[in-house]
Amino acid sequence: MKKVVGVINLVDEKNTLSELTNHRSFASVPFAGRYRLIDFSLSNLTNAGVNTVAVFTREKYRSLFDHLGSGREWDLDRHQGGLFFQPPADEERRSTGDIQSFYENLSFFKRSLSHYVVVTNGQLVWNVDFDQIIEEHEAENADITVVYKPCDDPYTSGSHYNVLYTNDDERVDRLNLGVEPLPGDNVFLNTFLMKSSLLISLVEESIENGKHESINEAIAANLDRYHVHAHHFGGYVTFIDSIESYYRYSMEMLDPNVTQELFYNTGPIYTKVKHESPAKYLESSSVSNSLIANGCTISGTVENSILFRGIRVGKGAVIRNSIIMQKCEIGEGAVIENVILDKDVSVSPNESVTSEDQPRVIAKSTVI
């Protein structure tokens, strides 16, 4: 097998999740009851046998660093390869975009002696088989393979998507950067594969000529020069770009068909282990259509909601259509409806936190 290194590129993340991304990177936003968004792409890489992964970051990486640790949970605590956490180097900035991070880490690509590089990001909830993409890349004799998904979400917002157009042979002939996609557009998932040697020369060239600020720009500008193959990802994937879409995609996790595909059909999704006890349901608990993580103690009512690890729900409390993050305390008789409680929020007995239509976010460690 040819050696592959992975990059999780968080440099150009947009902090569009208001309170949820005020103090943490997009990639470390909690999702689906016990995960952080980065767990999906990172697990996909290790499930494909990629045992050298670099995480490029620029800011707000404290919680990410804490989450990833030595990489042990992803089997990335290795003598050969492993997890490389790459915050900005103390070097002269040659570019304002993510090309700078690739440039600062050229020695990482050179030293790794790898044949291929897979670059992905930390905000996609998906379970992709990278082995299959590598096979297709080789069969197509491509120089670069980019991964896309036709946009099936009518609510995507903001012009920070990249849309690609292909000819009949699934060869990319146009890549439009920074646009708002329409339903049916082929959204580039900012995930691509190429030979390490090609990546190194693209980065060096971009920096030396001062031509491109981002790696995507470098790809978009070289569609004539290289055979850029488009891989259609057919599985489940999220387009999270706002609190509203974060909420909506979270609620899709209440569909057992979605969780079956995400967590069981391909490889497992790993995350940081907390050693919580199983969830405990007391005599007065009433739970329906909900995802409950370990360490929860439930005496109240929970409907259409997602409870992260270690939450206490007091007697008579009611939680509806809400996302409750790690270690929140919901006092007796409290009412929570249509809200997202960030970590460590404490709601006093009989208080009510509700919202009419749009989900409301309560910031980390708030006491109500």
């Binding site: 969780t259 050693h275 006890s277 739970v287 329906s288 409950i292």
Partner: protein, 379 residues
């Protein structure tokens, strides 16, 4: 190896005959418990939480699952450069080899392991019991009393005392007599199978015991009585918390049900005393709109469409629509179809229960469903 103050020797070779088919393929310490754990997690977590970082685990009966579960001990923070966990099976030497003949003989055969750490004390524990205990406090007690041996003891109901090894102590907690399963117990202080020895004293007594052809090479029957006979300083250390020997289907079932109380005597989610276990890597549990779950423990990876009352569900259990689970323990990855009734039962890992089946009964017995067979025992 640098010196260690205390090395733990964890006896984990037991077959657990009274657990029937649950121990066909695994040793008793590897039997699942509490929705997420294996029995041995409690003693390994106790060691880790007590600051004991050198643990020899003595295995013998059906060791594979236990060995692979323990691994290098990383789940319990026992993957250490100096010390850590070591699995110690019986072995062949130049002059042949033999099985562990008794608890004392098992330690005797591994004295080389203890010697390399040159410890002051050796803690001998068993991987068969459910309890949380700070061994460092017992070690302090042992030092303060200038003891040669200290035995963890627990007050048991008088009518059960004759099932245990019973200690008779003087006013200063010194053990003056040890009776193994006495017909007429003089006290109700039972041995918990937890011993701290001064290593030099233990080394001497193990060596002498080995030379006695009449000995059964057992701590309770031979080593402790010999030390008391010699008027060594043997003290009783009282423990007041929850402790349970889950050696029978009844006691295993009871101990699981104990966890379902509003304020259980054994708290599993104390952040200051976590019970560690190997993580099965499953998504959170899904409770469907039609489901009803009350007074139960449910682990990740479970998908529940039916009714679950007063039961313990391990990871990866599926409960189909219209099914009812009551007073039962459902071990990992059991798939329960639709319209199934399970009552007062223990269902072994990986069992598939077809639609419409009724298992267990309400006649006061507990049923074990394992290997496609049902065995009932009185509650």
């Amino acid at each position: 190896m640098s010196r260690k103050r205390c090395v733990a020797m964890l006896l984990a070779g037991g077959q657990g005959t009274r657990l029937g088919k649950l121990t066909t393929r695994l040793a008793k310490p590897a039997v699942p418990f509490g929705g997420k754990y294996r029995i041995i997690d409690f003693t390994l977590s106790n060691c880790s939480n007590s600051g004991i970082d050198t643990v020899g685990v003595l295995t013998q009966y059906q060791p594979y699952i236990l060995n692979s579960y323990i691994g290098i001990g990383s789940s319990w923070d026992l993957d250490r450069k100096n010390g850590g966990v070591s699995v110690l099976p019986p072995y062949m030497g130049q002059k042949g080899g033999e099985w562990y003949r008794g608890t004392a003989n098992a330690i005797y055969q591994n004295m080389y392991y203890i010697r390399q750490y040159d410890p002051e004390y050796v803690l001998v524990i068993s991987g068969d019991h459910i309890y949380k205990m700070d061994y460092s406090e017992m070690l302090d007690y042992h030092e303060q009393h200038d003891a040669d041996a200290t035995i963890g003891v627990l007050e048991v109901p008088w009518n059960e005392a004759s099932r245990f090894g019973i200690m008779n102590t003087d006013d200063e907690d010194r053990i003056v007599e040890f009776q193994e399963k006495p017909a007429e117990p003089k006290t109700n202080l039972a041995s918990m199978g937890i011993y701290i020895f001064n290593w030099k004293a233990l080394e001497k007594y193990l060596t002498e015991d080995e030379q006695n052809p009449d000995s059964s090479n057992d701590f309770g029957k031979d080593i402790i009585p010999a030390m008391i006979e010699d008027e060594k300083n043997v003290f009783a250390y009282s423990f007041n918390g929850y402790w349970k020997d889950v050696g029978t289907l009844q006691s295993l079932w009871e101990a699981n049900m104990d966890l379902l109380d509003d304020d259980p005597a054994l708290i599993l989610n104390d952040p200051a005393w976590k019970i560690y276990s190997v993580n099965p890597n499953q998504p959170p549990q899904y409770i469907a709109p039609q489901a009803k779950v009350t007074r139960s423990l449910v682990n990740e990876g479970c998908v529940v469409y039916g009714d679950v009352y007063r039961s313990v569900l391990f990871y990866g259990v599926h409960v189909g629509l219209g099914s009812t689970i009551r007073n039962s323990i459902i071990m990992p990855n059991v798939k329960i179809g639709a319209n199934v009734t399970i009552e007062n039962a223990i269902v072994e890992s990986g069992t598939v229960v077809e639609d419409g089946m009724t298992l267990g009964s309400s006649d006061g017995s507990i049923s074990l469903i394992a290997d496609g067979e049902i065995v009932s025992v009185p509650k």
